[in-house]
Amino acid sequence: MTAVVWICGVLLSAGAVLSVYRIWAGPGMVDRAAALDLLTATLIAGIAVEAAVARRTDTIPIMLAVALLGFLGSITISRFAAREPESERRILTPAEARIADELRRAKAERDSEEGEE
Protein backbone atom coordinates (compact mmCIF):
# COMPACT_ATOMS: atom_id res chain seq x y z
CA MET A 1 0.00 0.00 0.00
CA THR A 2 2.95 2.35 0.61
CA ALA A 3 4.02 2.09 -3.01
CA VAL A 4 0.47 2.90 -4.15
CA VAL A 5 0.40 5.97 -1.91
CA TRP A 6 3.71 7.17 -3.33
CA ILE A 7 2.63 6.69 -6.94
CA CYS A 8 -0.70 8.45 -6.33
CA GLY A 9 0.98 11.24 -4.38
CA VAL A 10 3.50 11.95 -7.12
CA LEU A 11 0.86 11.88 -9.88
CA LEU A 12 -1.57 14.10 -7.97
CA SER A 13 1.15 16.56 -6.97
CA ALA A 14 2.31 16.80 -10.57
CA GLY A 15 -1.28 17.42 -11.70
CA ALA A 16 -1.74 20.10 -9.03
CA VAL A 17 1.52 21.82 -10.00
CA LEU A 18 0.50 21.78 -13.67
CA SER A 19 -2.87 23.36 -12.91
CA VAL A 20 -1.27 25.98 -10.65
CA TYR A 21 1.09 26.79 -13.51
CA ARG A 22 -1.92 27.31 -15.79
CA ILE A 23 -3.56 29.55 -13.18
CA TRP A 24 -0.34 31.59 -13.05
CA ALA A 25 0.19 31.76 -16.82
CA GLY A 26 -3.41 32.47 -17.85
CA PRO A 27 -3.65 34.02 -20.40
CA GLY A 28 -7.40 34.59 -19.95
CA MET A 29 -9.75 34.42 -16.99
CA VAL A 30 -11.48 31.38 -18.47
CA ASP A 31 -8.21 29.43 -18.60
CA ARG A 32 -7.84 30.12 -14.91
CA ALA A 33 -11.40 28.97 -14.22
CA ALA A 34 -10.71 25.67 -16.01
CA ALA A 35 -7.44 25.21 -14.11
CA LEU A 36 -9.19 25.99 -10.81
CA ASP A 37 -11.75 23.30 -11.61
CA LEU A 38 -8.95 20.79 -12.09
CA LEU A 39 -7.26 21.93 -8.88
CA THR A 40 -10.38 21.21 -6.81
CA ALA A 41 -10.70 17.81 -8.49
CA THR A 42 -7.08 17.09 -7.56
CA LEU A 43 -7.81 18.15 -3.99
CA ILE A 44 -10.78 15.78 -3.77
CA ALA A 45 -8.74 12.92 -5.24
CA GLY A 46 -5.97 13.60 -2.72
CA ILE A 47 -8.41 13.51 0.19
CA ALA A 48 -9.84 10.27 -1.23
CA VAL A 49 -6.38 8.67 -1.40
CA GLU A 50 -5.69 9.62 2.20
CA ALA A 51 -9.07 8.30 3.32
CA ALA A 52 -8.57 5.05 1.39
CA VAL A 53 -5.21 4.45 3.03
CA ALA A 54 -6.36 5.26 6.56
CA ARG A 55 -9.83 3.69 6.08
CA ARG A 56 -11.47 6.77 7.53
CA THR A 57 -14.95 8.00 6.68
CA ASP A 58 -15.03 11.37 8.44
CA THR A 59 -13.46 13.22 5.50
CA ILE A 60 -16.20 12.28 3.02
CA PRO A 61 -18.37 15.35 3.82
CA ILE A 62 -15.27 17.49 3.18
CA MET A 63 -15.04 15.99 -0.31
CA LEU A 64 -18.70 16.84 -0.91
CA ALA A 65 -18.16 20.43 0.28
CA VAL A 66 -15.04 20.91 -1.87
CA ALA A 67 -16.85 19.56 -4.94
CA LEU A 68 -19.71 22.01 -4.36
CA LEU A 69 -17.29 24.90 -3.78
CA GLY A 70 -15.30 24.19 -6.95
CA PHE A 71 -18.45 24.03 -9.03
CA LEU A 72 -19.77 27.31 -7.63
CA GLY A 73 -16.37 28.94 -8.11
CA SER A 74 -16.01 28.14 -11.79
CA ILE A 75 -19.67 29.02 -12.45
CA THR A 76 -19.24 32.38 -10.75
CA ILE A 77 -16.02 33.21 -12.60
CA SER A 78 -17.49 32.39 -15.98
CA ARG A 79 -20.77 34.16 -15.22
CA PHE A 80 -18.99 37.41 -14.36
CA ALA A 81 -16.09 37.11 -16.80
CA ALA A 82 -15.67 40.46 -18.51
CA ARG A 83 -14.29 41.29 -21.89
CA GLU A 84 -10.69 42.23 -21.17
CA PRO A 85 -8.09 43.76 -23.51
CA GLU A 86 -5.29 41.50 -24.71
CA SER A 87 -2.60 43.56 -22.96
CA GLU A 88 -4.22 43.38 -19.52
CA ARG A 89 -4.52 39.62 -19.28
CA ARG A 90 -1.37 39.14 -17.25
CA ILE A 91 0.94 41.14 -15.02
CA LEU A 92 3.53 42.88 -17.19
CA THR A 93 7.24 42.97 -16.44
CA PRO A 94 8.58 46.48 -15.66
CA ALA A 95 10.11 46.82 -19.15
CA GLU A 96 6.86 45.79 -20.83
CA ALA A 97 4.88 48.15 -18.62
CA ARG A 98 7.17 51.05 -19.62
CA ILE A 99 6.70 50.26 -23.32
CA ALA A 100 2.94 50.01 -22.91
CA ASP A 101 2.90 53.35 -21.07
CA GLU A 102 4.87 55.07 -23.84
CA LEU A 103 2.59 53.63 -26.51
CA ARG A 104 -0.46 54.84 -24.63
CA ARG A 105 1.01 58.35 -24.20
CA ALA A 106 1.96 58.54 -27.90
CA LYS A 107 -1.55 57.47 -28.88
CA ALA A 108 -3.12 60.07 -26.58
CA GLU A 109 -0.93 62.82 -28.09
CA ARG A 110 -1.82 61.74 -31.61
CA ASP A 111 -5.52 61.75 -30.73
CA SER A 112 -5.35 65.24 -29.20
CA GLU A 113 -3.49 66.58 -32.30
CA GLU A 114 -6.17 65.14 -34.55
CA GLY A 115 -8.78 66.72 -32.35
CA GLU A 116 -7.15 70.16 -32.72
CA GLU A 117 -7.04 69.86 -36.47
Binding site: C8, Y21, M29, V30, A33, R55, M63, L64, S78, E84
Partner: protein, 165 residues
Protein backbone atom coordinates in the same frame (compact mmCIF):
# COMPACT_ATOMS: atom_id res chain seq x y z
CA UNK B 1 -6.77 -15.37 -0.64
CA UNK B 2 -10.08 -14.05 0.62
CA UNK B 3 -12.23 -11.36 -0.89
CA UNK B 4 -10.98 -8.47 1.27
CA UNK B 5 -7.49 -8.85 -0.22
CA UNK B 6 -8.97 -8.86 -3.70
CA UNK B 7 -10.97 -5.71 -2.88
CA UNK B 8 -7.82 -4.01 -1.56
CA UNK B 9 -5.87 -4.85 -4.71
CA UNK B 10 -8.69 -3.61 -6.95
CA UNK B 11 -8.89 -0.45 -4.83
CA UNK B 12 -5.16 0.14 -5.28
CA UNK B 13 -5.51 -0.25 -9.04
CA UNK B 14 -8.44 2.19 -9.08
CA UNK B 15 -6.49 4.70 -6.98
CA UNK B 16 -3.53 4.67 -9.36
CA UNK B 17 -5.85 4.87 -12.36
CA UNK B 18 -7.73 7.85 -10.91
CA UNK B 19 -4.54 9.68 -9.97
CA UNK B 20 -3.10 9.06 -13.42
CA UNK B 21 -6.24 10.47 -15.06
CA UNK B 22 -6.10 13.62 -12.92
CA UNK B 23 -2.42 13.95 -13.82
CA UNK B 24 -3.21 13.54 -17.53
CA UNK B 25 -5.82 16.29 -17.21
CA UNK B 26 -3.04 18.51 -15.85
CA UNK B 27 -0.82 17.62 -18.81
CA UNK B 28 -3.65 18.39 -21.23
CA UNK B 29 -4.18 21.74 -19.52
CA UNK B 30 -0.65 22.79 -20.44
CA UNK B 31 -0.24 21.00 -23.74
CA UNK B 32 -3.06 22.53 -25.76
CA UNK B 33 -2.99 26.02 -27.27
CA UNK B 34 -6.50 27.38 -26.71
CA UNK B 35 -9.26 27.53 -24.11
CA UNK B 36 -11.70 25.15 -25.78
CA UNK B 37 -8.99 22.53 -26.43
CA UNK B 38 -7.91 22.78 -22.82
CA UNK B 39 -11.46 22.42 -21.51
CA UNK B 40 -11.88 19.33 -23.66
CA UNK B 41 -8.67 17.84 -22.28
CA UNK B 42 -9.45 18.77 -18.68
CA UNK B 43 -13.11 18.01 -18.04
CA UNK B 44 -13.38 14.36 -19.02
CA UNK B 45 -10.30 12.80 -17.37
CA UNK B 46 -10.98 14.87 -14.29
CA UNK B 47 -14.42 13.34 -13.76
CA UNK B 48 -13.25 9.82 -14.61
CA UNK B 49 -10.30 10.19 -12.24
CA UNK B 50 -12.64 11.31 -9.48
CA UNK B 51 -14.90 8.31 -10.16
CA UNK B 52 -11.86 6.01 -9.93
CA UNK B 53 -10.82 7.51 -6.59
CA UNK B 54 -14.38 7.20 -5.25
CA UNK B 55 -14.62 3.56 -6.37
CA UNK B 56 -11.30 2.80 -4.68
CA UNK B 57 -12.41 4.49 -1.47
CA UNK B 58 -15.70 2.55 -1.53
CA UNK B 59 -13.81 -0.72 -1.96
CA UNK B 60 -11.57 0.13 0.99
CA UNK B 61 -14.30 1.31 3.37
CA UNK B 62 -16.96 -1.34 2.56
CA UNK B 63 -19.70 0.03 4.80
CA UNK B 64 -23.16 0.94 3.61
CA UNK B 65 -23.76 4.54 4.67
CA UNK B 66 -20.30 5.84 3.71
CA UNK B 67 -20.50 4.22 0.29
CA UNK B 68 -23.76 6.04 -0.33
CA UNK B 69 -22.05 9.32 0.51
CA UNK B 70 -19.33 8.44 -2.01
CA UNK B 71 -21.96 7.68 -4.65
CA UNK B 72 -23.36 11.14 -3.91
CA UNK B 73 -19.95 12.76 -4.43
CA UNK B 74 -19.43 10.87 -7.72
CA UNK B 75 -22.93 11.75 -8.92
CA UNK B 76 -22.33 15.37 -8.04
CA UNK B 77 -19.10 15.42 -10.04
CA UNK B 78 -20.89 13.83 -13.01
CA UNK B 79 -23.68 16.41 -12.91
CA UNK B 80 -21.61 19.54 -12.32
CA UNK B 81 -18.64 18.92 -14.65
CA UNK B 82 -20.59 19.37 -17.92
CA UNK B 83 -22.42 22.41 -16.54
CA UNK B 84 -19.27 24.20 -15.43
CA UNK B 85 -17.42 23.28 -18.65
CA UNK B 86 -20.32 24.66 -20.68
CA UNK B 87 -20.40 27.88 -18.65
CA UNK B 88 -16.64 28.37 -18.98
CA UNK B 89 -16.62 27.80 -22.74
CA UNK B 90 -19.63 30.09 -23.10
CA UNK B 91 -17.74 32.80 -21.24
CA UNK B 92 -14.71 32.16 -23.46
CA UNK B 93 -16.76 32.71 -26.60
CA UNK B 94 -18.67 35.69 -25.23
CA UNK B 95 -15.63 37.54 -23.97
CA UNK B 96 -13.55 36.69 -27.03
CA UNK B 97 -10.81 34.92 -25.06
CA UNK B 98 -10.40 32.25 -27.68
CA UNK B 99 -8.90 31.80 -31.12
CA UNK B 100 -11.74 31.46 -33.61
CA UNK B 101 -9.25 30.66 -36.38
CA UNK B 102 -8.04 27.52 -34.61
CA UNK B 103 -11.44 25.84 -34.93
CA UNK B 104 -11.93 23.24 -37.66
CA UNK B 105 -15.69 23.77 -37.78
CA UNK B 106 -17.24 26.93 -36.36
CA UNK B 107 -20.99 26.31 -36.39
CA UNK B 108 -21.70 29.21 -34.07
CA UNK B 109 -20.20 31.67 -36.57
CA UNK B 110 -22.80 30.68 -39.19
CA UNK B 111 -25.60 31.17 -36.67
CA UNK B 112 -24.23 34.53 -35.58
CA UNK B 113 -23.98 35.65 -39.19
CA UNK B 114 -27.56 34.56 -39.89
CA UNK B 115 -28.84 36.27 -36.75
CA UNK B 116 -26.99 39.48 -37.59
CA UNK B 117 -28.33 39.62 -41.14
CA UNK B 118 -31.83 39.01 -39.75
CA UNK B 119 -31.34 41.86 -37.30
CA UNK B 120 -29.97 44.13 -40.02
CA UNK B 121 -33.02 43.42 -42.23
CA UNK B 122 -35.31 44.07 -39.30
CA UNK B 123 -33.49 47.32 -38.48
CA UNK B 124 -33.65 48.43 -42.12
CA UNK B 125 -37.41 47.84 -42.15
CA UNK B 126 -37.77 49.79 -38.91
CA UNK B 127 -35.68 52.66 -40.25
CA UNK B 128 -37.73 52.76 -43.45
CA UNK B 129 -40.93 52.83 -41.41
CA UNK B 130 -39.55 55.65 -39.25
CA UNK B 131 -38.56 57.67 -42.31
CA UNK B 132 -41.99 57.13 -43.85
CA UNK B 133 -43.72 58.18 -40.63
CA UNK B 134 -41.55 61.29 -40.33
CA UNK B 135 -42.18 62.19 -43.99
CA UNK B 136 -45.95 61.83 -43.56
CA UNK B 137 -45.91 64.01 -40.45
CA UNK B 138 -43.76 66.52 -42.38
CA UNK B 139 -46.33 66.56 -45.15
CA UNK B 140 -49.00 67.13 -42.53
CA UNK B 141 -47.15 70.24 -41.42
CA UNK B 142 -45.16 68.79 -38.46
CA UNK B 143 -41.75 70.18 -37.52
CA UNK B 144 -39.91 66.86 -37.08
CA UNK B 145 -36.73 66.09 -39.02
CA UNK B 146 -36.96 62.92 -41.14
CA UNK B 147 -33.18 62.67 -41.59
CA UNK B 148 -32.53 62.63 -37.86
CA UNK B 149 -35.16 59.95 -37.24
CA UNK B 150 -33.74 57.70 -39.95
CA UNK B 151 -30.17 58.15 -38.71
CA UNK B 152 -30.99 57.34 -35.10
CA UNK B 153 -32.86 54.24 -36.19
CA UNK B 154 -29.88 52.99 -38.18
CA UNK B 155 -27.43 53.72 -35.38
CA UNK B 156 -29.58 51.80 -32.87
CA UNK B 157 -29.71 48.80 -35.17
CA UNK B 158 -25.95 48.87 -35.56
CA UNK B 159 -25.43 48.65 -31.81
CA UNK B 160 -27.92 45.79 -31.61
CA UNK B 161 -26.25 43.76 -34.35
CA UNK B 162 -22.87 44.20 -32.69
CA UNK B 163 -24.15 42.99 -29.33
CA UNK B 164 -25.15 39.55 -30.45
CA UNK B 165 -22.87 36.52 -29.74
Amino acid sequence: MNWTTVADVVAAVFLILGSFLVFSAGVGLNRFPDVLFRLHAVTKPQVLGLLGAMAALALRIRSGSSVWMLVLVALFALITAPVSAHMVSRAAIRTGQMDRGALVADELADDIKAAQSNLAEHAAEEAAAAVAAAASSDVAGGSSKPGAAGESGVRGSGAKAGDIT
